[in-house]
């Protein structure tokens, strides 16, 4: 009956009427998708090669460690590199505990409810605040209200706000990768929830957690817009290039690239910018490699699985 009312096709070969054109469309679409994905890789290769070619002649020991120069050629970026790491360090000091604890709360403790929704919504909102807007918030609070002027600490606190959501997300994903059976096993042995988190869950999540933290650190290292008006666009000329006082102004390498381009009087500004861009790129690559290697090592060491 079914067949009787549907016109019976008499296809004898394994082909149908429009199969050919459809196959061609499919081939073209597939090729286009491959092409689109390849452009990503080609683009990255282009960027890396270009930055190396432009920047490598600027790199020298003196450039990497020396003071920037106000008016003459030959200035270095020593304090800037130090400041980038120093502000990253300060930022991690604030971000890590808060974000990991909050991540543990959301992932392990909080049942569905108003408080959890509020925290998650806040994190999402915080994550979409543009960094320049966060920079102005830092300016309003730390510079205008607290009268700190431009400081490493103010910059680090601003970056903390900017990166809390990403760190929390990283923590949540790392915790989610821990099999449910670990929790049950630990709780089954009479451990409290907190003991379970500390002794069973966090150690097994340490690999992916480290990978995520290092990747986010890479982004903190290169942040610019949020720092220009909080940590400042100049370095303090103290006794050494390494100024640990968190209340001193602290231009980072990324900010230096910006300010060199914008207002430098030195004749070799382009050289310095090219060199700074290359150092920033190399740091991104280093952070990526370290994230992978360290994450894998820690996973193997602490959980015994490859």
């Amino acid at each position: 009956m079914a067949r009787a009312i549907l016109a019976t096709p008499t296809v004898e070969s394994l082909r149908s009427n429009n199969a050919r054109s459809r196959r061609i469309v499919d081939k073209i679409a597939t090729a286009a998708l491959w092409g689109a994905a390849s452009t990503i890789v080609l683009m990255l290769i282009l960027f890396v090669v270009y930055l190396f070619v432009q920047g490598y002649s600027a790199i020298s020991w003196h450039f990497l460690t020396g003071y920037p120069s106000a008016a003459n050629a030959g200035g270095g970026v020593g304090p800037e590199i130090f400041n980038s790491f120093y502000i990253l360090f300060l930022t991690l000091c604030f971000t890590l505990p808060i974000a990991v604890l909050a991540g543990v709360f959301i992932q392990e403790y909080a049942g569905p409810g108003r408080f959890r929704d509020m925290v998650e919504f806040s994190a999402e909102s915080l994550a979409t605040v543009p960094s320049i807007v966060m920079g102005l918030f830092g300016l309003i609070v730390f510079v205008q209200l607290f009268h700190w002027h431009f400081t490493a600490l103010g910059g680090a606190l601003t970056l903390t706000l900017l990166n809390l959501p990403a760190m929390m997300r990283v923590t949540q994903q790392a915790l989610a990768s821990v099999p449910q059976t670990y929790r049950e096993a630990s709780m089954g042995l009479g451990a409290t929830k907190w003991q379970t988190v500390l002794r069973a869950i966090l150690p097994s999540a340490i690999g992916p957690l480290t990978t995520g933290v290092v990747l986010v650190s890479g982004r903190i290292f290169g942040e610019t817009a949020a720092l220009i008006f909080t940590a400042g666009a100049s370095v303090s000329y103290g006794a050494s290039a390494y100024d640990f006082n968190p209340f001193h102004t602290a231009e980072t390498l990324a900010v230096h690239l910006y300010s060199t381009h914008r207002e430098a009087l030195v004749p070799d500004a382009d050289q310095i910018a090219n060199g700074s861009a290359l150092v920033l790129l190399v740091m991104v690559l280093v952070f990526n490699v370290v994230a992978r290697v360290l994450g894998r090592q820690l996973t193997v060491r602490l959980t015994g699985k490859a």
């Binding site: 079914a2 067949r3 549907l6 082909r15 149908s16």
Partner: protein, 263 residues
């Protein structure tokens, strides 16, 4: 009086599909081992066997679904009307056009009922709105669903009950006018009433289609099929008319299974 078996009803029984030396591997795991089978035209062939024996693996080899599974590899030949569907140059898309499949869990697209049914005809080149309406109505009739949905063809298919969704999926396959319909436990996710509707429908379908159906229920195999094939641990153990398999199996293992000794 003579016992009516499929053979006696139709002496000119023709093979629709022939499976020769079929092997399926998942990576290194040998899931189907040198299976041979003839699928008779316009009959219902049931595949039975304990869980994990390879029924799904086997039936998915019949319309090249394994092409979609990374790591799956198929060797041997499967012919449809004498043409090897795995031969070089054969487009799996055309194969699946002629050999449709209904899955264990109803899988309607998140679209309207109408759009679900005409999805196949549309991609195969039918763009005439009136023709599509006709195809939709006929296919839903044939799947015994028309009366239940005719007033809400533009509602989402996801609002239907599980049994209705499964009949919609059957209608969707009928709409592309295949010659063979493969069904992998089509009723296992349904309640008894929905199941019996599907079983009645299969009885209707075999007048026009060749049906291969995997089932977990031996009663169901006995009710709806003309032939039954028994699998065990990747081996095709025995094939015969359904009445033979259930009343006088030749292999000890088949007997053990149908008498419930494998659980």
């Amino acid at each position: 009086m003579m016992v009516e078996t499929p053979e006696t009803r139709s002496p000119s029984l023709r093979s629709k599909m022939k499976i020769d030396d079929l092997n399926v591997y998942y990576g290194a795991f040998h899931a189907i081992k040198r299976a041979n089978l003839d699928v008779p035209d316009r009959r219902v062939m049931a595949l039975i066997g304990p869980s994990g024996c390879g029924k799904s693996t086997f039936i998915r080899a019949l319309n090249r679904m394994h092409d979609l599974t990374p790591g799956a590899r198929v060797t041997g030949t499967v012919t449809l009307d004498g043409n090897d569907i795995y031969a070089q140059g054969v487009d799996p898309v055309t194969v699946r056009h002629r050999i449709g499949m209904v899955f264990q869990r109803p899988n309607p697209f998140p679209k309207s009922i109408f759009e679900n049914v005409v999805y196949g005809p549309k991609i195969h080149g039918e763009h005439n709105g009136k023709r599509l309406q006709e195809i939709c109505e006929k296919s839903l009739h044939a799947a015994a669903l028309w009366d239940e949905v005719k007033d809400r063809l533009n509602r989402s298919a996801l609002d239907l009950s599980g049994g209705q969704q499964q009949r919609l999926c059957i209608a969707r396959v009928l709409a592309v006018e295949p010659e063979v319909i493969l069904m992998d436990e089509p009723a296992s996710a349904l309640d008894p009433i929905a199941t019996s509707k599907i079983e009645d429908l299969i009885g209707e379908l075999k007048k026009d289609y060749t049906v291969v159906i995997v089932t977990h229920s031996m009663q169901q195999a006995a009710r709806i099929s003309d032939f039954t094939t028994f699998f065990l641990l990747g081996d095709l153990i025995e094939v015969g008319t359904t009445s033979d398999i259930f009343t006088r199996p030749t292999d000890k293992r088949t007997e053990d299974y149908i008498t419930g000794r494998y659980g």
